[in-house]
């Protein structure tokens, strides 16, 4: 069984974000140990680093190596390694906790495209915290009196978080949405 995976450009030219199913590696951060196939690439100096992000494994090649040449071998090594998720060891026990993973997902979503969308409408979204598979955010700027904000929150923010963290129970907002109480809106005390 080959694990579905594809690369997307990373933040650095020698870096590729390999998109994997979000429930495959249940931790974030630089793993304490990786399966042999990837380990060998790290050991022989071709790979500089392996970092697990929500729904992605970020691989950075060492200086002097290029993806066009190394790509196929790295792809195979990654696929072999992903076939053995139990052999990946989180950096710490905490890195595998649901809070840490959910916080990473929420941060990523708010910093990414969805956050860009909110900011492009002169609003702001701040992550206040995560607890028990729920995310607490604060709305600011033009969001306060935006009629479409429930729509944006459920369709965009919540959906984006759930795609990377399928166990998500709900998204809570502070201050409370005015008017009718919305589902989940009062679940976490302000």
């Amino acid at each position: 069984m080959t694990i579905p995976v594809h690369p997307e450009p990373g933040a650095h030219p020698r870096e590729l974000r390999w998109i994997v199913a979000p429930d495959l590696l249940r931790f974030v951060g630089r793993p304490a140990a990786v399966p042999d196939a990837l380990g060998r690439l790290l050991a022989d100096g071709r790979l500089e680093s392996v970092v697990v992000e929500p729904g992605a494994v970020v691989l950075r090649l060492a200086d002097g190596f290029a993806w066009r040449a190394e790509g196929p071998a790295v792809r195979r090594a990654l696929q072999d390694s992903l076939a053995r998720p139990e052999a990946w060891r989180p950096p710490s026990d905490a890195a595998g906790s649901s809070d840490v993973r959910l916080r990473a997902v929420a941060e990523r979503v708010l910093a990414g495209e969805v956050g860009d969308y909110v900011r492009s409408h002169a609003g702001s979204l701040t992550l206040l915290g995560v607890r028990d598979d729920r995310v607490l955010v604060a709305l600011g700027g033009s969001c306060a009196d935006c009629p479409a904000r429930d729509w944006t929150l459920t369709l965009r923010v919540e959906a984006a978080i759930r795609r990377l963290y399928p166990e998500l129970m709900g998204l809570d907002v502070r201050p409370r949405r005015p008017g009718r109480p919305t589902e989940g809106a009062s679940a976490v005390p302000a």
């Binding site: 790509g71 196929p72 195979r76 696929q79």
Partner: protein
């Protein structure tokens, strides 16, 4: 009709401009996009050294003009047919023989994204900048599918633009995008080519692009339930084919009358205002008679190509091929060969070109050699003229006109003969090479784009008119000269007992001693057994360039004998030489021989040229000419004898 559209030459699109190549599977909206970008200004030529025609056109962009090339539709760069091979070759930057595109536009049908990504994966391995153009996004939404184009772009590592075919704003956005190729993102690491890795890469990309599969197109399912029904499907198929020919023959008639009236008017003007006798005769006989007699078929050609483009665009052609596949299999062919042979009803050339979609070289050759036997529209004027001589207009067979039945019979006979030919050549070429797979996509029914239909009709009409203005005009002028010279002085005429003031008698004398008559008599031994005389021989020889010339030639000869009423003169012609001298020339048996001769003989320079191009040499066109002539002569001989026995 045997025009040379898609023919050689003409591919004179300016060089030095930035080139974009359109790559994509069949039915992915590639040609629609091409037409939208280039308008109706496409140039058609062919690739040097190979036999596949190339379409390219100039598109105006914000940053200046660019060349857009429409590559043949393909499902894979792992080519198994000649036109797929050309795609693989054009995308190879190292090949010096043809210009390499500067960038690629990969068209992808949003409703078949899973399959299309396999091809995208291959194309992104080519070291050229690429943009993925997602078509039919509107249809995806209608069928409750979903696709995040931005996420698809991130996953593929190249720009992704949604361009629904009908949306001019999207096309404009694409034009602006084409202006700056250097800004196009290139994949850091191309997709895998290993089968298992490609499979999971596609899964992963689809998931990342939040792709939701469209529901089955309910309209298509409902229509298919009828059109592909074992009983009703066949009924609809035959009704469609019947309607196809009805439209071509009945709808064209008033338009043809109008063209005839126009030429009649021109003839009147010539008679009235051109006082120089030989010039008036030249204009009336050679130019108006020759060209007008052929140009009359323009409406039929336009309608025929419109019908084929409509059936193709709506998606019925692949259904027809599906229904006919079993029948075609009997003749050793496949369903798609049916589409090629159906096109050959229009003209052998599009039929021959349509064989490029056949992956098997053996099937392709067999179909190419059979296509010229299908009753093309160039035979139509010949059949019309000969049937009018053979069958009285008022005769009926049951509720149908006997002339129409005779015409239908000729079409059926031509089709059967073509199928039999394909079967024989399939057998001959049969060293059972590994059988290539038969597969045929069944696209959803879609409204054909008017522009695509217009482009097909325009292309066909322009080529036909060009052919009339070149091959046919030249031939008729040359024939006119051969039939009108040498001239004889008064002394010579008197010596032969002709009154030099009796114009009709002089014309008949000149004709009988013309260069053409000499030529016609020289080949008489060949055609004697068929009952032809030198005038028919001249017509047959002249029609080697293009079949319609036969009508023009016989028209010229008849007009020379009786300028007032050439039709009656033709019917009343008598044999001039030999044992049958004085008897009527066009007896039922001679007419039957002529009909059968024209059914089989390869009298078409353009077809021979295309055969040479498509088979890459003179061998097959010569074989085709030889076997078709043998069939024609033998068939004509037998038909003449049989009819001679039935109707002495």
């Amino acid at each position: 009709m045997s025009h040379d559209h898609h023919g050689g030459g003409g591919a004179t699109v300016a060089t030095g401009l930035r080139r974009f190549a359109l790559v994509g599977s069949p039915n992915s909206g590639k040609s629609t996009l091409f037409n939208a970008l280039t308008g109706l200004r496409a140039k058609v030529g062919n690739y040097p050294g190979v036999t596949v025609s190339r379409y390219e056109g100039v598109a105006t962009m914000p940053g200046g003009a660019v060349v857009v090339e429409d590559l043949p539709g393909t499902y894979s760069l792992d080519a198994i047919s000649p036109d797929e091979q050309i795609v693989a070759d054009v995308l190879h930057a190292g090949d010096e023989r043809r210009p390499t595109p500067d960038a690629l536009l990969v068209t992808v049908d949003a409703t078949t994204l899973r399959r299309s990504l396999a091809m995208v994966a291959q194309v992104l391995n080519v070291d050229l900048p690429a943009t993925v153009v997602v078509t039919f996004g509107d249809e995806l939404a209608q069928r409750a599918g979903r696709l995040d184009l931005a996420a698809l772009g991130r996953a593929l590592g190249v720009p992704v633009l949604g361009v629904p075919a009908a949306d001019p704003r999207a096309v404009d956005a694409l034009r602006r995008h084409l202006a700056d190729v250097s800004a196009w993102e290139r994949p850091v690491l191309p997709p895998p080519t290993d089968p298992a890795e490609t499979r999971v890469w596609i899964d992963s990309v689809l998931a990342a692009a939040d792709y939701a599969v469209p529901q089955r197109d309910r309209r298509t399912a409902r229509v298919d339930a009828v059109l592909l029904h074992p009983l009703w499907g066949s009924v609809v198929f035959f009704a469609t084919m019947f309607g196809f020919f009805q439209v071509i023959f009945t709808l064209a008639a008033p338009l043809q009358d109008a063209i005839e009236a126009l030429f009649g008017l021109l003839g009147g003007l010539v008679a009235e205002f051109v006082t120089v006798d030989w010039l008036a005769r030249f204009l009336a006989e050679a130019v108006l008679g020759g060209v007008g007699g052929v140009l009359v078929f323009l409406p039929q050609i336009a309608l025929l190509f419109a019908m084929i483009a409509l059936l193709e665009g709506v998606g019925y052609m692949s259904r027809a091929a599906f229904l006919m596949d079993r029948v075609m299999a009997r003749f050793g062919l496949e369903g798609r060969a049916f589409v090629a042979l159906l096109s050959a009803f229009a003209c052998a050339i599009p039929g021959i070109i349509a064989t490029r979609s056949l992956p098997s070289a053996r099937d392709r050759l067999a179909t190419m050699l059979a296509a010229p036997i299908m009753t093309c529209s160039a035979r139509l004027p010949v059949y019309v003229m000969l049937i009018a001589l053979l069958v009285p207009a008022e005769a009926t067979l049951g509720p149908f006109g006997a002339q129409g039945v005779a015409m239908f019979g000729l079409y059926v006979a031509g089709a059967l003969a073509a199928m039999a030919t394909a079967w024989v050549f399939g057998r001959l070429g049969g060293r059972r090479q590994g059988a290539l797979p038969f597969y045929m996509e069944m696209p959803p029914y879609r409204l054909p784009r008017l522009r695509t239909v217009v482009a097909a009709v325009w292309d066909a009409c322009v080529s036909f008119v060009r052919k009339v203005a070149t091959i046919i005009l030249t031939t008729t002028i040359a024939l006119w000269a051969l039939l009108s010279f040498p001239l004889h002085d008064a002394g010579r005429l008197e010596a032969a007992g002709i009154d030099p003031t009796d114009q009709a008698a002089v014309a008949a004398y000149t004709l009988d001693r013309s260069y053409a008559a000499g030529l016609g008599r020289a080949v008489q031994p060949v055609f004697e057994p068929l009952g032809f005389d030198w005038r028919v021989n001249v017509g047959v020889i002249a029609s080697l360039t293009a079949r319609e010339v036969f009508v023009a030639t016989m028209g010229q000869i008849a007009a020379a004998e009786d300028p007032e009423d050439p039709g009656t003169a033709l019917a009343a012609m008598t044999v001039e030489d030999g044992p049958r001298a004085g008897e009527p020339l066009f007896t039922p048996s001679v007419l039957a021989s002529l009909l059968v001769f024209f059914m089989f003989a390869l009298q078409c320079f353009a077809t021979i040229g295309v055969l040479r191009r498509e088979t890459g040499g003179w061998r097959w066109p010569l074989i085709a000419f030889g076997y078709m002539f043998a069939l024609a002569w033998t068939g004509a001989f037998v038909a003449g004898r049989v009819v001679g026995l039935l109707a002495p």
